[in-house]
């Protein structure tokens, strides 16, 4: 059905990822845990090395050459991230440690100043703990109330239920763009339009979309968007917050310290202009620069191409998974061309517990994740204590899907056989 005449994208690109060339337990590594973190291409590894070998210096504080170089590279990375998501201004990009920190920043700086008892925050039942706990904490501090959008029959975001929850009491809607468990792609533009019609702000958790598809925050019209660098070929320790300029301006600082100040006196201070107001202390300079290199790398391939190739992989993955009757797969089915969902599958395999599956697959060199993937309330709702999850990226191949399916079948047979 999905005859790929052209040379698959992954064939050449794999060579950019030295880690993929290794054997695990005597078998070629098949890395299918990309939703947890992606691997890093040489360009990113080199950017880290080169920074420390040539340019290492603190940013913004020096007049010497190295400091100027470090600052240019760090701020250059901000430009790259801004362009990557089509932000209107570079000042709208705040570097954070990861998406989690970005969400907490909004919950503290904006939430604390803007929410009061009885105000409502709408989340969905599929949120990652990162997009749940900060709002629970905020609700505890302010007396705001959390509401949860439920799932449709196909285990997708239920827009009708969302419409029924939203009201003038709603101050914030915070939703995941692509679910790390269900793989569904949520209609964020519609979600934003509905929220704005009710005067509510919207935060989009783009952790699982930014690595895989083109993003345009202006078209989306979201108020904030967060992502983690480590899931999009960048290093760990760096993520970003996008926020509309006027909103970020109006928000009080989050953490206090150096870098974020304009003028400091013993009893008070004025704060730096955006985005530095939200970047207290020495930032993760090398990591930010390497994230810039990751963005360059992804742009070099083309986010459209990445997305299209992953759809092909999705179609093939689901076609092969359908051969195994024991499996229960969560989230929506892809369309025949592989579109309509992310290139990942969370599933259970009858009597074989996800941990046992993961151990057995690991013996075959196949890395998948087992657990609740930080969506424990969703798992409870799905009546699954844990699931196994295979998640793909553009460097994965059909041959790897074949290996995964073959070892999955073997694992089920191994358990089934011994059970009799």
């Amino acid at each position: 059905m999905i005859a790929t005449q052209h040379r698959p994208l992954a064939e050449d690109l794999r060579l950019d990822f030295p880690i993929l060339g290794q054997e695990v337990n005597g078998k070629p590594l098949v890395y299918l845990d990309n939703a947890a973190t992606s691997q890093k291409p040489l360009a990113v590894l080199d950017a880290l090395q080169n920074y420390y070998r040539r340019d290492n210096s603190n940013v913004h504080r020096g007049v010497h050459t190295l400091s100027a170089r470090a600052t240019d590279a760090y701020e250059g990375a901000r430009d790259k991230v801004a362009a990557f998501i089509n932000a209107a201004s570079r000042q709208e990009i705040v570097f954070t440690r990861n998406a989690t920190e970005a969400i907490n920043l909004v919950a503290y700086a904006w939430g604390q100043a803007n929410l009061k008892t009885g105000d409502e925050i709408i989340l969905s039942v599929m949120e990652h703990h990162s997009n749940l706990i900060p709002w629970q904490l905020l609700a505890q501090r302010t007396g705001a109330v959390l509401k949860f959008v439920e799932l449709t029959d196909t285990q997708e975001f239920d827009l009708d239920h969302y419409r029924s929850l939203i009201s003038e009491k709603t101050k914030l809607v915070s939703v995941v763009h692509v679910s790390n468990t269900l793989g569904c792609i949520n209609p964020v533009e519609e979600i934003v339009a509905i929220a704005h019609a009710h005067g509510a702000r919207v935060l989009v958790d783009a952790c699982q979309s930014a690595p895989h598809m083109p993003l345009n925050v202006q078209a989306m019209d979201c108020d904030w968007l967060v992502a983690s660098g480590h899931k999009m070929c960048g290093p760990t320790g760096i993520g970003f917050l996008y926020g509309k300029l006027d909103l970020l301006r109006a928000m009080p600082p989050f953490l206090g310290g150096g870098e974020m100040i304009a003028d400091v006196f013993f009893d008070h201070a004025t704060y730096a202009d955006l985005p530095h107001k939200f970047e207290a202390g020495t930032p993760a300079i090398a990591e930010a620069i390497a994230l810039g290199a990751a963005v360059d790398y992804l742009n070099g391939i083309g986010m459209d191409k990445i997305h299209a190739y992953e759809e092909e992989l999705t179609a093939y993955l689901f076609q092969r998974l359908a051969e195994i009757p024991e499996l229960k797969i969560y989230g929506p089915q892809p369309k025949a061309d592989g579109s309509g969902r992310a290139s990942l599958a969370a599933f259970t395999a009858g009597e074989v517990h996800p941990h046992d599956l993961s151990t057995i697959l690991d013996q075959a060199g196949v890395a998948i994740r087992a657990g609740h993937h930080c969506t424990q309330p969703l798992h409870r709702l799905l009546n699954a204590q844990s699931t196994a999850r295979a998640s793909l990226y553009f460097y994965n191949t059909r041959a790897e899907i074949d290996t995964f399916i073959a070892s999955l079948k073997e694992a089920i047979a191994f358990f089934g056989g011994l059970f009799g």
Binding site: H355, D356, Q363, H372, Q385, S386, F415
Partner: protein, 162 residues
């Protein structure tokens, strides 16, 4: 697939205890009750203990909960082995089990059935699956007679994850 490795881990006995546990349920009466979990993977265990009249010897252990083959088999094997043991002996067995997970010891002849879990020591990431139930029992024994309402986490303590 490295089947020999897997057969070391998933011994027939382990799979039998997983599939047909003999000690699932609740003791009657419940003299001790303790819940344990591994937060990062979601495995839970709900352990109940029946003691003798003087409260120093285990008459019965039962478990409920959800987890992988290793966690569930470990709970069933432990429940089997604990019957008739004094609380002191039980705590010693918990210690021996932990040592076995470090590859340092095995159980003597009369408890040798527990040695089928030895293979787990070769799979470091799965050790916490095996130790969850033992940790939970230890907490059940060490608690005062008040049954504890909360969970103990097998991951919070360094020995839990070894």
């Amino acid at each position: 697939m490295a089947l020999e490795n897997l057969r070391t881990l998933y011994q027939q006995v382990i799979l039998e205890h997983y599939k047909k546990p003999r000690h699932r349920g609740k003791t009657d009466p419940v003299d001790r009750h303790q819940r344990g979990h591994n937060p990062s993977c979601g495995d839970t265990i709900d352990l109940t203990v029946k003691l003798n009249a003087s409260g120093d010897r285990i008459e019965d252990v039962k478990f409920e909960g959800e987890g992988c083959a290793i966690a569930m088999a470990s709970a069933d094997l432990m429940a089997d082995a604990m019957r008739g043991k004094s609380l002191t002996e039980a705590l010693e067995m918990v210690q021996s089990f932990q040592n076995m997970m470090k590859g340092q010891a095995e159980f003597p002849r009369e408890l040798r059935k527990l040695n089928v879990m030895q293979g787990v020591a070769q799979f470091p990431v799965r050790i916490k699956c095996a130790t969850l139930t033992w940790h939970t029992l230890k907490a059940a024994i060490e608690q005062s007679s008040e049954p504890s309402a909360g969970f103990i986490s097998n991951e919070a303590s360094p020995e839990g994850v070894l």
